[in-house]
Symmetry: C2
DNA sequence: GTAGATGCAAAGTATTTGCGACAAG
DNA sequence: CTTGTCGCAAATACTTTGCATCTAC
């Protein structure tokens, strides 16, 4: 089982305010990949006084603290998701926008190999697949 | 040898204006991945009357026509490069911003396989590796 | 008590668009 | 000719920031 966002904040020395607690809870409950507007709407239902500036500041802080991952899929706004130990990449349905998470260890290994081939240590990577559903 | 951008425009029925011709030439000569501002500066040296709006309109048009590729690397502005038949992905040096192009057929194949596993035809993909140079 | 967080509105970036003038086919 | 493009400035979309106030620790 992975730590809660609140535990991660403590561990990283991030001050836990009421607003951050709410944003953390909303992200934890979200199984999709909301953008800032969507997150702001969800958060506003719990505490309507939270400002969008705080949401922006918080997602940025959480991203820098390794608590959230930011994705910038083709042609859309930045989206966020909670970062748990299980790394995964994304397959995006270009027709519906549906996002499927997947893991492929072999691709991961090959990526590291490519980086090494050029004399680099891989510190991060981004893999996004865009597809259309097969009709049979 | 691959077609020139002008030939591609003809083939796709894209009207060839003086401005587009200049933007096409500048992109063809560029071996890096300029963002719109940078491209605008380069283009302005040839014809100072071209407006940034035209540059934006043109890169968008060229992208939709499959003439240019748009990249949105982590935390930076959109960058463009000419699209030739040889597909490649990018390895970005997170310290210097240097961009290395690479090809890995095996990764390509695995991507297709992953998409198929979920019942999708792969129409596009994005793979970016972020690394730091090894110190020995 | 104090450093850091918040809300608000204003300011930044990056990009798009309405419109009248103009150019390509 | 006619349709689409250009330049300009204004508009939009997303995100950041200055500042006075407030809150976690």
């Amino acid at each position: 089982m992975s730590e809660t966002i609140e535990q991660k904040c403590l561990a990283k020395g991030v001050k836990l305010t009421e607003q951050r607690r709410i944003i953390a809870q909303v992200m934890s409950k979200s199984n999709d990949h909301p953008d800032v507007d969507e997150l702001y709407m969800r958060v506003s239902k719990i505490d309507p006084k939270i400002s969008i500036a705080t949401v922006y500041r918080t997602v940025k802080l959480f991203e820098e603290s390794g608590i959230l991952a930011k994705h910038e899929f083709k042609g859309s706004k930045a989206r966020y998701e909670e970062l748990n130990e299980g790394h995964h990449d994304h397959l995006i349905d270009v027709k519906t926008g549906e996002i499927i998470e997947f893991v492929d260890d072999e691709i991961e290994k090959l990526q590291k190999k490519v980086a090494e081939k050029y004399g680099y240590d891989l510190v991060d990577h981004k893999l996004e697949l865009y597809g259309v559903k097969k009709n049979k």
